[in-house]
């Protein structure tokens, strides 16, 4: 049962134009991810050495790379990789993290202590370094990058869910449900979890952007999607070798990363205002 204090109240969102804009941009991103060939004029992988390192112009809006491939097309095809990574990682981390968080928060005792210590340890290692180490162990690649990022990100959700559960556990309506004879499982699933979800969803949206950033950093280090896949971080890394002669090569993928992060951040900000006004960043 959704209790009105904790649950989502949708009607306010429609009034905010920027939130609507943010949602439209997200939909645009999804369209680019699903149908890149509709927008991208060229094949992102086909090598055309006669066109290498061409500056931006009417034929190639973002210029070409060292293999003569159209950078604009590669950037568009890169949306798919970034979006897939962030959706997979955030979903994976949220599922793993919130499950453990619910257990920890509800059961308390030594289960809680152990989980807290484990999350402490994971969160003591700087994000990029831990992700880097896991990918090196598993060998570079897109899927291993996603696994590494899930390993890095789950503690945030565990902690968040745990603190939500601990707070909601004490609420009168939960006590009421228990007094009426609801079993632990029923109480958890039907009463605690739905009301705990608001901050989790906000965190998910913000994290989508941050996962793209971290994934790009791993890509820059050569640990992410392997060539010829058009991963933005790797493109910046490859472009770095030519940046004095072909500034467009590393610069445009960077704009793609920033735009994606900003879109998710915008949406996350408004989601937070809508769902969880108590934690507003004014």
């Amino acid at each position: 049962m959704l209790h009105h204090d904790d649950a989502v109240v949708p009607h306010q969102a429609i009034r905010r134009p920027l939130a609507v804009a943010g949602s439209i941009l997200i939909i645009l991103l999804c369209v680019l991810a699903l149908f890149p060939s509709a927008i991208a004029p060229y094949d992102p992988i086909k090598i055309e050495l006669s066109d290498r390192l061409q500056p931006p112009g009417s034929a190639n809006w973002f210029g070409t790379d060292s293999f003569g491939r159209d950078l604009f097309s590669r950037v568009i095809f890169g949306v798919r990789i970034s979006l897939l990574t962030s959706v997979t990682v955030v979903t994976g981390a949220a599922v793993v993290g919130t499950s453990l968080g619910v257990l920890s928060g509800y059961l308390g005792g030594w289960v809680d202590e152990v989980l807290m210590r484990v999350t402490d340890v994971f969160m003591a290692i700087p994000v990029i370094l831990l992700a880097m180490v896991v990918v090196v162990v598993l060998k570079p690649g897109l899927i291993n990058t996603m696994i590494a990022l899930i390993v890095v990100w789950w503690p945030v959700y565990a902690r968040l869910m745990r603190s939500q559960v601990i707070t909601i556990k004490e609420r009168p309506y939960v006590e009421a449900a228990v007094a009426f004879g609801a079993g632990s499982w029923k109480v958890t699933v039907r009463h605690i979890v739905p009301n705990a979800l608001a901050p989790i969803l906000v965190q998910c949206t913000m994290d989508m952007g941050y996962v793209v950033l971290t994934g790009a950093a791993l890509g820059f280090m050569g640990l992410g999607a392997q060539p010829p896949m058009p991963e933005w971080g790797k493109m910046i890394s490859s472009g770095r070798a030519y940046f004095l002669d072909a500034w467009w090569y590393p610069v445009f993928p960077g704009f793609a990363i920033a735009s994606t992060v900003m879109i998710f951040n915008l949406l996350g900000d408004y989601l937070r205002d809508w769902m969880d006004p108590k934690s507003r960043v004014i």
Binding site: V121, F220, S237
Partner: protein
């Protein structure tokens, strides 16, 4: 509880935290496929040699025993030997650590120097043009990847304008001519202490672009948090009281409001050090800054796993220590925490 007991308790937590991290690194280093003894001996070595090395490295023992050996080596400061050049990792870390420390501290200093005033101004002129611009700026500062920022800064300020150098820590000929004694390991500090103005100037000039790149996202976070905290504090009754008692606005802002707004900002500073350490891997590579980050990046290229583990362990230790310092500072700032 008293400050001393709190500090002791928190410092004591460092031990199990490091133990936990060492378990993770131990597990990870044993998941790598391949036989370390065979790799170290070389492909042409005889089986008896490899077996002897295996016994010597303790690889024939059970995992808990191996972990015990690993920890005892760690405690003595033995982080293993580089796969590439067979030198102890610890020596490499000692050489590169001061450079990274200098870069991180410089970035943090910049972030605070620019971020806090920006946040204060944003809060004071809330919803004005200035506020909206700086909020947008903060969003941009977080959204652009740090390695991209470094490349763009190089493009503009080195290549196009020639105002700053492209990399390295200092003009080597200056240091060769008049060497600076290494007291702190931070070249800027050491040059200042030695009164060597040429080296100081050169070091600062080289430090500028990398520090700016690394500081941007932390700056944005600090500005944002300062703004939020200031806005909340400025709405508090005691601020109205102070104003109505005739206190000058500057005293109200900086004497009362900012001091209270600094409390949540301090938390951000602690968290940000983790991003600074991670980001230094990227920034140092771009600017050829001879620190741990560049060392880590190169170790990845050569798959020198002991080196990567060594850097991660050291970075974790530094991160935990800085968080401890920040927490202590937090307690000093906010007496209410002490009473809990």
């Amino acid at each position: 509880m008293s400050l001393h007991i709190y500090i002791l308790r928190r410092a004591a937590f460092l031990v199990p935290a490091c133990a936990g991290v060492s378990i993770i690194t131990f597990i990870l280093s044993h998941v790598i496929p391949g036989d370390p003894a065979r790799l170290a001996s070389g492909l042409e070595a005889h089986e008896e040699q490899v077996q002897a090395l295996r016994i010597e490295l303790g690889l024939d023992q059970s995992l808990p025993v191996q972990y015990g050996m690993y920890v005892s080596r760690l405690v003595q400061g033995d982080l293993g030997v580089s796969i590439i050049n067979h030198r102890p990792i610890r020596d490499n870390l000692k050489i590169f650590f001061p450079a990274t420390l200098e870069l991180s501290l410089a970035s943090l200093f910049l972030s605070l120097l620019v971020g806090i005033p920006l946040g204060v101004l944003s809060a004071v002129y809330k919803d004005a043009m200035w506020d909206n611009l700086s909020r947008l700026g903060a969003l941009l500062g977080i959204a652009f990847p740090v390695f991209w920022v470094g490349i763009v800064l190089l493009l503009v300020f080195y290549y196009k304008l020639d105002w700053f150098p492209s990399g390295g820590r200092v003009d080597t000929h200056l240091v060769l001519r008049e060497p600076v004694p290494a007291i702190t390991g931070l070249l800027t500090m050491d040059a200042l202490l030695a009164g060597n103005w040429l080296v100081l100037g050169s070091a600062l000039w080289h430090l500028a672009l990398p520090a700016i790149s690394l500081s941007l996202s932390t700056l944005a976070r600090i500005a944002r948090m300062t703004r939020t905290a200031m806005v909340e504090v400025l709405n508090e009754p005691y601020i109205t009281t102070a104003r109505s008692m005739g206190l000058r606005e500057r005293k109200v802002l900086y004497g009362h409001a900012l001091r209270n707004a600094m409390i949540p900002t301090t938390t951000i500073v602690g968290i940000s050090f983790g991003y600074l350490l991670g980001g230094s891997v990227l920034v140092e590579t771009i600017f050829a800054w001879p620190g741990l980050g560049k060392y880590a990046f190169e170790s990845i290229i050569y798959m020198d796993f002991p080196a990567i583990m060594g850097v991660t362990l050291l970075a974790t230790l530094v991160f935990l220590s800085t968080n401890l310092i920040v927490d202590i500072f937090y307690m000093v700032l906010d007496p209410r925490i002490r009473l809990e």
